[in-house]
Point group: C2
Chain length 340, copies 2
């Protein structure tokens, strides 16, 4: 049995869609139990509306953890996590810490999740920093972008760990054999880069447990040039957000072109379905939540605009995580490479 | 009269398209003269093919500067600029240095242009670093991304100068009144960011000659959130190349969707023209070359795949540059803010 603590109060469609996602997941998977963390009366009301029947869900596998507070996206994360002890995010992290949950899912404040994950749940022994590592869609599948979190100005030893952790994730969770690892750089040659990249490059090259293929220029990322894209969190954040931004603006332009006249509107109708499918493949929000790795347990940040389907997918991701023994493998890797 | 030295040997379509671009520009503008720098016999051969008639171009405004060597994209820039004294790029930079040209245009090695610009042409007094500053297409026009060059690991005083130089460029060359300046960051709040951004933010805020609007997240760049996007060159390089990469991959996906079946092909025909126009607006290569600013003269790097039209546009850009008195304004700004 895998136990997932779900923040019922975070995200644009909370609590309704979050709770619906949990109900869907319970139906799909017999091996999961869910702890809904949030305002009890609100959760009960939604459950009463969405699953009024006696057998609508397995009541043995769904429980509520009452939380009187909510951390919003606007609050400074560190202060919020410290002061709001009874918030849904803090209580969910406590469940992880106390082994009462294997994983935490939230569509709420990314900052609070990062802080709560490190301060409350805690890191696996040997892990310097817990990286946030979303999957990016590419021309030929997905790549793991590690790190996109809030801990900027990383040192080389952090990036080495990101490469190791990312490799294990792609191999065990996505079945990629000997994942290709690359470091984000401004040129393909070894002598290129800023001080951090120059210092990290030879260290990555010397890691026998990583399939390091060298530098990757940002242009090659959407083409699927590597399975694991290693970078410092500031750079990762820029990459992740620009991915979204360029895609969204380009789609606006395309929509505008489709609406230009009568004939273009007819044309748009004819290509619509095929186009929708193609673009869905390239939508970063379609690849489950972004895992925060290297913690005791798994923390999954799902997009703020997630609906039931994304939440249910993230729960499935948590089941895979537990089954894969990912954290044991990360722990082992840290022990084998303790000096780095 | 504005004199432009054009590297006839750099780029995917050199020398034919480069020379054609010069011939077109000479026809369009009476106030420009061109110095074609490259292998004399090759240039003469192309001129003979493209403009065989006696009056095909004004021979008083076109001259050839013979260069026996070519710097390729594959060569390490510093070594290449130092050793290939008779290369087209080095000779063109010498023309700038000796006031025999007002500007240099090349579709060749970006690295060699950056090195040659700084080492040979030299910087305006007071300028710490010469930034490469391309225009990025946005939902509502263009923004200047400054710096995307090769000088990474900038210090706060460099970013302040980029903000000043970028503001002057957008105001004088693009007619933007009091350009909005923003610094690339991972959040909108002042306390967010890496060490460099945190240190630079209050300094930018205190500059009375800049319309500083604060941080910009990468997601907002394609939406046109600011006129001048200030960042360190590593970040700028990632932004520029990811812009291209995401756009190109997305367009591949769209093409695939259009070719899926009979009806989608019909639909594609109906939207084709309208779509082409919309996407052309969003193609970074359509906004002239990327200027390398802060040098004695102007150096314009045009895209490696530039054809005659881009070269001719870049020559027009050089005329505007000279007319606007841009370098005098940059010089003045550096003098007025010498302590920074």
């Amino acid at each position: 049995m895998v136990t997932v603590a779900v923040d019922a109060m975070g995200g644009d469609y909370a609590p309704d869609e979050i709770i619906q996602g949990c109900l869907d997941a319970l139906k799909k998977n017999n091996e999961v139990s869910v702890k809904l963390v949030g305002k009890q009366d609100i959760i009960n009301k939604v459950l009463g509306e969405r699953a009024p029947g006696k057998d609508d869900y397995d009541k043995n596998r769904l429980s509520i953890v009452d939380a009187s507070e909510i951390i919003t996206n606007e609050e400074p994360p560190v202060a919020a996590v410290r002061s709001k002890k009874d918030s849904s995010i803090v209580l969910a992290m406590n469940l992880l810490k106390n082994n009462e949950a294997d994983a935490v899912i939230s569509a709420g404040s990314t900052g609070a999740l990062l802080v709560g994950g490190q301060l409350i749940a805690g890191r696996i022994k040997g892990v310097h920093r817990a990286p946030l590592a979303p999957l990016l869609p590419t021309a030929c599948g997905v790549s793991l972008l590690i790190d996109c979190g809030a801990n900027v100005d990383a040192r080389p030893e952090h990036l080495i760990q990101f490469a190791r952790i990312g490799s294990i994730y792609m191999e065990k969770m996505l079945g990629v054999n000997s994942p290709k690892v690359a470091i984000v750089n401004i040129g393909a040659e070894e002598e290129k880069g800023n001080a951090l990249v120059k210092e990290t490059f030879p260290l990555l090259k010397s890691c026998s447990d990583i399939n390091f293929i060298g530098s990757i220029e940002a242009r090659e990322i959407p083409r699927g040039g590597a399975d694991v894209i290693v970078c410092e969190a500031f750079t990762g954040n820029v990459i992740l957000k620009l991915y979204e931004g360029v895609g969204a603006t380009l789609l606006e332009k395309i929509k505008g072109a489709f609406n230009e006249g009568f004939l273009t509107k007819i044309g748009a109708l004819l290509v619509k379905n095929s186009l929708k499918k193609a673009l869905k493949d390239f939508d970063a929000s379609n690849y489950g939540g972004a895992p925060l790795l290297g913690l005791k347990g798994l923390v999954v940040k799902v997009h703020g605009n997630s609906k039931a389907n994304e939440v249910s997918n993230a729960i499935a991701q948590c089941i895979d995580f537990k089954k894969s023994g990912l954290n044991e493998l990360i722990k082992e890797s840290m022990e084998n490479n303790w000096s780095r």
